[in-house]
């Protein structure tokens, strides 16, 4: 029964039973998603992927940061579930970007934590200039990756050992999934869901969110020539 069936035909109780996280409180291990937040993170870099990932079977999403309340560039604030220097084994570690990365790339404690957190994460997913933070560690060295095309010159200048791709909505190179700017993170999140749970699940989530998925990583409307 998908959400369309539920929402069209279902009673409130049935909808709750089928959709609320409580239905996932079972013996199955959660699909753990950990997302980094920092002041002046870009709102959609974080919440676009979270929208899609939050509909995965048995998903559990937590936020980690340096303090309990973190402010987005757009203004609204989120509450962190964990704080540094904890590292947390997870299935997917999401690293958003935003103007706050301009300051964070100079934060050696953050960079050291980031390298440790990547080690205990099965997959690492950066959106937009989140790749700038990863590029300040050595985890992307020798890896094919992309970033926000509006900030391409700056991000790629941070680490010449990364195989940067100027034309890619996202790049999936084994452990590291890196997307282009802001909205591209939503398309890359659906790619992760397809890879992890199959295309039918990705299409189900695309439909229930009335999204129009750019499902071709090579279709990059903001590609640049370098």
């Amino acid at each position: 029964m998908n959400r369309r069936d539920v929402l069209i035909g279902g009673s409130a109780a049935l909808v709750s039973a089928v959709l609320s996280p409580s239905v996932f409180s079972n013996d199955k291990p959660k699909h753990q998603v950990l997302a980094l937040v920092f002041d002046d993170y870009e709102t959609l870099d974080l919440h676009g992927p979270i929208e899609m990932l939050g509909h995965m079977p048995n998903a559990q999403i937590s936020l980690v940061g340096s303090q309990s309340i973190v402010r987005s560039y757009q203004g609204p604030k989120v509450v962190t579930d964990r704080q540094f220097p904890d590292v947390v084994p997870c299935d997917l570690f999401l690293v958003p970007g935003g103007i706050g990365t301009r300051k964070l790339v100079e934060d050696k404690a953050l960079t050291a934590w980031l390298a440790k957190q990547c080690k205990v994460s099965k997959k690492v997913f950066s959106v937009c200039t989140g790749s700038a933070l990863l590029a300040k560690t050595d985890v992307l060295n020798g890896v094919s990756a992309t970033t926000n095309k509006m900030a391409y010159a700056w991000v790629t200048s941070l680490n010449s050992q990364v195989t940067w791709q100027p034309t890619a909505r996202w790049v999936d190179d084994g452990k590291f999934l890196t997307s282009s700017g802001v909205s591209a993170g939503i398309d890359a999140a659906l790619h992760y869901i397809k890879q992890t749970f199959g295309e039918a699940e990705a299409r189900r989530i695309e439909q229930l969110t009335e999204y129009q998925w750019n499902s071709d990583s090579h279709n990059d409307p903001y590609a640049i020539s370098v």
Copy 2:
């Protein structure tokens, strides 16, 4: 100077000066956006529009709810800036949807507050099943509106005096802008920016977020036949 110029050519200090909210701390009145939040709101219904609206000139975005910390359906929590029963005059009042609306439509105190808040808002913008909450007041009576196509039967059953539209990515009927499900709120937010600040501003924000705007309200990939 747009954000692309800044991010490609700018120094961190310049970027900060041009982009950080502090640059807007001037004598110009803020463009006030107030957004309702409630437990089990749908993440992208709120944060998709906030991403786009947050890049408007002089934008100031606040969250209002019944308690200080509110949990999204996907898990992450946000912090409210104001709490009921305050009503706040604003330029735009954003009402997201989500599974939490199934319970909220029965909350008479919320409905009464909503009607008062709509009165002091220049424009009211609902996303997804946020229109179900508005439909429980009389503010949409005689108004052309749309809602989440996955929940169309339920929402439209709440108020027969609304002129519901089964084929519309969004409907703009004077004071009330109502969008289809989840992702459609991003397209409707860019419509509001175009209407308020001109198409060049909407296209600038589309580009800096690497978004692919469905700018035609009649282009509804999830339209249903009724």
